[in-house]
């Protein structure tokens, strides 16, 4: 794994806080995601990882703090504007649109880069038709990229779980994001499929995309990610390289209980 040197931070969370009914899901979190890298966000269940993604994408308003994308404050913007700024996500439990084929799902993802106005598209002007054809072509290309070209016209909900996850990633890529947020992209996948996702993430990074992925699996984080951050009870425990993070004693405690237990687990390996 090569460590890349980053000149700048693409996403920056500054003292972000969010509570639900008095329980702090995220408590004063500060974190930076370097541009052009893959960062893994780790932590036990309920640590607040998914909440971070929800906050960044504008699904919930912040209680306090600040979120910046490439230096611009994006907090308080509605979700669709944040998407337009280049932040797109996938979901922990796959959320595809019911009734749509695989291709239609990805085409819906291409909405932001449709290249024509809604009205022109309704009228079906030659330019709008051409743009729509391009978008469809692009959607096919994205499906092919996640290895599902042959599934384009199949109702997405009839596909396997792993295939649905890949459609969701293709849909997110349709929006041509700068920052891709993946919420447990390999959940429910076998080793082979997981590895394919890892390769895809690396390809995307190499093409200039920044990726923040929530991932439980310590092994996958070390394999896929350039950076890692570990959360526990809504706070940042540690950030750094994956190896640094995993070695950190607090992480050991958070993940495996008392460090003594962790020692024993390591010994068993």
């Amino acid at each position: 794994m090569t460590m890349r040197t980053e000149s700048r931070t693409l996403l920056e969370l500054d003292a972000v806080r969010k509570s639900f009914g008095g329980v702090a899901a995220v408590a004063s979190l500060s974190l930076g995601v370097p541009a052009g890298s893959v960062m893994g966000l780790m932590g036990p269940n309920g640590a607040g990882k998914t909440t971070v993604i929800n906050l960044v994408t504008g699904m919930f308003p912040l209680d306090a703090g600040c979120i910046r994308l490439a230096g611009d404050d994006i907090q308080g913007l509605p979700a669709h504007r944040i998407a337009a700024r280049g932040i797109v996500r996938t979901y922990q439990n796959v959320r595809l649109f019911s009734g749509m084929t695989a291709l239609e799902q990805v085409l819906a993802g291409c909405f932001l880069r449709r290249g024509t106005s809604l009205f022109a598209s309704f009228l079906g002007t030659p330019a709008a038709r051409a743009a729509q054809a391009r978008a469809t072509e692009h959607a096919r290309h994205l499906l092919a990229r996640v290895g599902l070209a042959h599934r384009a016209d199949v109702l997405a909900e009839t596909l396997s779980y792993g295939e649905q996850r890949r459609i969701e990633i293709a849909r997110a890529l349709g929006a041509a994001p700068r920052l891709l947020l993946l919420d447990e992209p390999t959940a429910g996948m076998n080793a082979q499929e997981s590895a394919a996702i890892g390769r895809l993430v690396h390809e995307l990074r190499d093409a200039g995309l920044t990726v923040l992925m929530v991932e439980h699996n310590v092994r996958l984080v070390t394999e896929f990610c350039d950076h890692a951050a570990v959360m526990s009870f809504g706070r940042l425990l540690v950030a750094g390289t994956p190896a640094e993070c995993i070695a950190h004693p607090d992480v050991q405690t958070a993940y495996f209980g008392h460090s003594a237990d962790a020692e024993r687990i390591r010994a068993l390996r």
């Binding site: 337009a84 309704f122 109702l155 997110a172």
Partner: protein, 287 residues
């Protein structure tokens, strides 16, 4: 030949009402297809209908010329309604729109200058059924264009999952606002067409009954494709006529039972693109 012309004469008005109900159902479908259950189409129809009627009566112009005025009236009203309603959550929006239907009748009763009040309004204007059908075909073409356009894609996404749609850069509010405007324009048109079909408007013309006709047409026909609204309106209009011919003594009961059976066995309606796709997928798997 006589038989043919007699049948046509006997059932042309049924066809006409089916077409008008289809227009009204499309108005309800327009918002439903963007994830909003709203009965406000009744109010757009009332505004468009009464305004169109007044235009025809006073300016002495035909229904085709009154149509733009009704479309505009419905559109303006739907814009105002959307401004208020889009703040409400799903269930409450449905309830609020039903309340709006109830208010519509009160307003109609208390605005005699526009509506004729309790006396109602006689509109001695005719529109050939053929023209009505042509108008419906034009409207169907418009809905087909909408469905395949980027608006249609966004509306489907917003309907299925507004949060995901937003995270893909679609503004649910904007999409639903457009849906309301379409609903209002189509509803206004439907209102004036109904006025011409009835040739007489009373405060009860645009009330709860027609709200249920609209929603039942859409759901019966299938609320996931515009063709569902048209098919549903045809079936819903024809059902009472068939019931009357087959079991005159219990026609309302028969009508209700037919409706019940269709919905229980086809809860997603007569026209259901998802079911077709599923069947196709199943066939492919078996093949």
């Amino acid at each position: 030949m006589d038989w043919l012309s007699d049948t046509w004469a006997a059932y042309q008005s049924t066809l006409g009402f089916a077409a008008v109900n289809a227009v009204l159902a499309l108005s309800t479908y327009a918002v439903l297809s963007a994830g909003v259950l709203s009965f406000a189409s009744v109010s757009y129809a009332a505004f468009g209908g009464f305004l169109g009627a007044q235009v025809m009566l006073h300016a002495g112009i035909g229904p085709l010329l009154a149509l733009p005025a009704a479309i505009l009236a419905g559109g303006v009203l739907s814009f105002l309604v959307a401004l208020i309603f889009l703040r409400l959550e799903g269930h409450w929006m449905a309830l609020a729109s039903l309340a709006l239907v109830l208010i519509t009748r009160v307003v109609v009763l208390n605005a005699p200058a526009l509506t004729g009040g309790v006396n109602g309004l006689s509109i001695p204007v005719e529109l050939p059924i053929g023209v009505l059908i042509l108008l419906l075909l034009l409207l169907m073409l418009i809905f087909q264009r909408l469905a395949v356009s980027w608006y249609g894609i966004a509306a489907r996404a917003v309907r299925e999952d507004p949060a995901v749609a937003a995270s893909l850069g679609m503004s649910p509010r904007r999409v639903q606002m457009i849906a309301f405007l379409i609903s209002g324009a189509v509803g206004g048109a439907g209102g004036v067409l109904l006025a011409v079909m009835l040739q007489f408007l009373s405060p009860d013309t645009y009330f709860v009954n027609i709200a249920f006709t609209m929603i039942a047409s859409v759901v019966l026909g299938g609320s996931y494709h515009w063709a569902g609204a048209v098919a549903g309106a045809a079936v819903f209009t024809a059902l009472p006529v068939i019931a009357q011919a087959v079991v005159p003594a219990m026609q309302d009961v028969a009508n209700g039972v037919a409706l019940l059976l269709i919905m229980i066995f086809l809860p997603r309606g007569l026209i259901d693109p998802r079911a077709w796709r599923r069947r196709r997928a199943a066939r492919r798997r078996n093949a």
